[in-house]
């Protein structure tokens, strides 16, 4: 239902009486999400450090630049200290796993400039065996973000003060946010952390993927009350009424 172009709300249909004069090819209005926004950083980079970053990509009012890992630190230093860019704040640093691509991890740096009111996203690709230079010399706040990216994705950062796990336990095996890491985890690796083994109670899965006979049987065996009650009893209706039903118009 929601498409990329923001449709005007219903209620303004085009007048049907006048037939269109000629079968014009439908000219799609330019997507507002792809509009070009003004940002001084790409131009400044082109002037001072030519060839280091890609052409800017615009989406939803955001600017994305792609940079090779070799030039990353240089570009970051420039963006941090150049008066026209002056990105003082590293708002976020994170990575994503693309297992099908040659260089597996995409790492993004969300920069914000308080002086100029700008935002910029730097993007770089790094393979599984390679490592990225740490940006902690430029923004010391990258410390924990890089630790998090190392912990959850296994990206190595060179020059980081102490690259150890931050969210997962120290003896955890594997990096959970990789796409080949199964959602429930590797049971054989993490026996210590399985609550079912600790509490010695098995978990009843009634999720719809496992539904059908099994879920019903479990409940029937235990309670014997599956199925409709004998006679429909008088159930007092709850007082409310609205409970979120009269939504919208």
């Amino acid at each position: 239902m929601p498409t990329d172009d923001t449709k005007p709300p219903a209620g303004t249909p085009p007048p049907r009486e006048t037939p269109p004069p000629a079968p014009k090819p439908p000219v799609k209005p330019p997507d507002p999400l792809l509009a070009v926004v003004s940002c001084p950083a790409p131009d400044r980079l082109r002037e001072v450090l030519p060839g280091r970053v890609s052409e800017p990509h615009f989406f939803a009012g955001e600017v994305t630049l792609t940079v090779a890992p070799d030039h990353l630190l240089e570009v970051c230093q420039f963006l941090r200290h150049d008066p026209a860019c002056s990105f003082e704040l590293l708002a976020d640093l994170t990575g994503t796993d693309f297992p099908d691509e040659e260089k597996r991890f995409r790492v993004v740096y969300h920069l914000a400039s308080l002086r100029n009111g700008q935002r910029l996203r730097l993007r770089t690709q790094v393979g599984q065996e390679e490592s990225l230079p740490s940006v902690t010399p430029v923004w010391p706040g990258a410390n924990w973000f890089e630790r998090e990216a190392f912990d959850l994705l296994g990206i190595q950062f060179d020059g980081h003060p102490r690259l150890v796990r931050i969210l997962m336990p120290d003896d955890w095996v594997g990096h959970p946010l990789r796409k080949d890491y199964p959602l429930p985890g590797y049971p054989e690796h993490h026996l210590r952390y399985r609550t079912a083994d600790i509490t010695r109670r098995s978990y009843v899965d009634i999720s719809w993927k496992a539904t059908g006979e099994r879920a019903a049987d479990i409940v029937k065996k235990y309670k014997g009350n599956v199925g409709a009650p004998e006679s429909a009893p008088h159930v007092p209706m709850p007082v409310d009424d609205t409970n979120g039903q009269e939504t919208g118009s």
Binding site: D31, A60, G141, L167
Partner: protein
């Protein structure tokens, strides 16, 4: 001659003043903190991993469970990101309702901070007062969306229900009462000599260091930087509201107290304006149906000003109705980095004050 020996102790994870399960390894030289190493992750629930396997619409309840003190902000940040990714417009009335809820929740969050922070330092009564008013806000939320802590009060492209009858009056009454009560808190604390001694020049961090460490929110504003995303990058309907950004240049715990107290009053002011300006009629949802179809291979970052700082959501879409990657940039996580430099060289007793002043929620930082 006496010789001091450095000692390493653990504070937490089950310490009442760590506001959750934060473990702090402290190296002490007598009463002085030589070094510290925060250990987090005890509340890690893998929300980002889980989100990758769910549809956009199903992720909202998880965002409640990250920053459970201000769940409305979490909802708004996530939904704002989805709406930005798919280019969905939110009807005006829904945007007003969202802002009312978020600002009320900011008051509730700051009240919880005030109560627990003061309790850690030793002021017991303000804790009870703060919770008394917070309870009223939770009652308002219960009347609106039915939940008191994990609200899930908004949906993609709007809000599910209108304000119930009588809610506006109840809210106006509360705001009037709150202004009085706010004066009461200030009487108790602002000029209190013990409070001043425990907070002045404790946890000093200036603007340059705050920015270098990615610290945002009231901590940054208390260092003299007027950074507020509601003004700098207005989302929802904040550009139609009239409000100030409280700034203080004390850079210490007391300045953060001043800033947060002033922010509560600003929020009251904003809610009053919203109640007045809100259109009485209008649609509540911007789209029909539940199917989302974002553009393929695009990424967006959307940030709002939560009560603790910049609360961002980074989404990558692969053209389906599930996010390929969903990363939550939570302010507690970034702000916690400032803990180690702040406590260094200070007294052990001040560690408690500094944890309080950073206003961390461990569910927020651990995800």
């Amino acid at each position: 001659m006496f010789r001091t020996q450095e000692m390493e102790i653990n504070m937490g994870p089950q310490h009442p003043s760590t506001h959750g399960v934060l473990r702090l390894k402290l190296r002490l030289d007598g009463e002085r903190v030589v070094d510290s190493w925060p250990v987090i992750g005890y509340l890690h629930r893998g929300i980002e991993k889980l989100s990758e396997s769910k549809e956009f619409i199903k992720i909202t309840p998880f965002t409640d469970r990250m920053d459970y003190v201000c769940a409305m902000s979490g909802n708004l940040a996530y939904l704002g990101a989805v709406e930005k990714l798919c280019g969905i417009k939110v009807p005006e009335k829904a945007a007003y309702i969202r802002v009312i809820m978020v600002e009320l929740n900011r008051i509730a969050s700051h009240l919880l901070w005030l109560g627990t922070h003061a309790l850690d330092i030793g002021a017991m009564s303000i804790f009870l007062y703060g919770f008394r008013e917070r309870e009223m806000i939770l009652d308002l939320f219960e009347a609106y969306c039915g939940a008191r802590l994990t609200y899930n009060a908004f949906r993609i492209s709007g809000v599910p229900a209108d304000l119930p009858p009588g809610w506006k009056e109840e809210c106006t009454g509360f705001l009037k009462l709150f202004r009085q009560r706010h004066r009461e808190y200030e009487q108790i604390l602002t000029a209190n000599r013990i409070w001043l001694k425990r907070t002045k020049d404790v946890g000093y961090m200036d603007a340059e260091h705050c920015l270098a460490l990615s610290v945002t929110g009231p901590v940054l504003r208390a260092a003299g930087v007027a950074r507020d995303l509601r003004k700098d990058e207005p989302y929802a309907i904040y550009d139609q509201l009239d409000f100030d950004i409280p700034v203080d240049d004390g850079c210490d715990t007391y300045a953060r107290y001043i800033v947060r107290m002033a922010e509560m009053l600003q929020s009251v002011h904003m809610v009053e304006q919203c109640l007045e300006k809100m259109p009485s009629e209008g649609p509540l949802m911007g789209m029909k149906g539940r199917r989302m179809k974002p553009r393929k291979d695009e990424e967006i970052y959307f940030a709002i000003e939560g009560p603790r700082g910049e609360q961002g959501v980074y989404l990558i879409s692969d053209g389906t109705d599930r996010p390929y990657r969903c990363k939550f940039r939570n302010s507690s996580f970034a702000n916690l980095q400032a803990l180690a430099p702040m406590v260094q060289g200070g007294l052990v007793a001040d560690v408690v004050a500094i944890i309080g002043t950073l206003d961390i929620v461990l569910g927020d930082s651990d995800r």
